[in-house]
Symmetry: C2
Subunit: 128 residues, 2 copies
């Protein structure tokens, strides 16, 4: 009887392992990299609210499979003054172009961002 | 006796799970995003050899903890003509700035790339 429980537990762990690997493996996923240079006149509170709103999108738009962000600290002087970096992961270009782009939460987010950015760079790639 | 094996197997799987999560969790890691616009005059063979050399760096420079790349296909017209995207992961800014930057394999790689790029954008961020 004890063995049966252990076998069930082992199978559960194997499944968790497989799911974790699938979830974290970026190969074949679509990365959407968004780089902002915020205006120097924009307050820290405004910028913070934009970051929070971007983070919140992943809870509002189910096709977002991964999300990360950070402050640019490149020492190489070829960053064009970019201050903030975001990377959003999708499972397909269709999720990105047809669901995410026109999703009401994303449209609302773009309205929030617009007045505060001096520069935007966006690149997309399928992870090879 | 059988139970003992199962317990060992279960502990092994738990450990694998924890290691996989640690390895794949980008929080606190340092992303180094490199965007190239290759010259239109550069041949496909030259560009392919550069991509291969970049991929090879992760085997030559042990501080590279993660690596991914892809072809830009952004439909948003704010990509500045970028054609290729690369993201390298480090565990610290020291690994990035003191080990990677001046590593002979990276220096050699930069010499290979130089003549073929029309534009380079590099940003770095600690994943929040």
């Amino acid at each position: 009887m004890k063995s049966k429980y252990l076998i069930v537990a082992a199978l559960f762990l194997i499944n968790l392992q497989v799911e974790a690997q699938k979830k974290n493996n970026p190969h074949g996923m679509y990365k959407h990299v968004v780089l902002f240079k915020f205006k120097e006149t924009s307050s820290k509170a405004s910028v913070d609210s934009i970051i929070s709103a971007f983070i919140l999108l992943k809870d509002q738009i189910p096709v977002i499979k991964g999300f990360e962000w950070g402050l640019n600290d490149s020492p190489e002087h070829v960053d064009q003054g970019i201050t903030h970096c975001f990377a959003v992961t999708f499972a397909s270009t269709s999720d990105r172009d047809n669901v995410y782009q026109d999703h009401p939460a994303h449209v609302q987010f773009k309205k929030l961002v617009g007045p505060h950015v001096e520069k935007v760079v966006v690149v997309d790639y399928k992870v090879e």
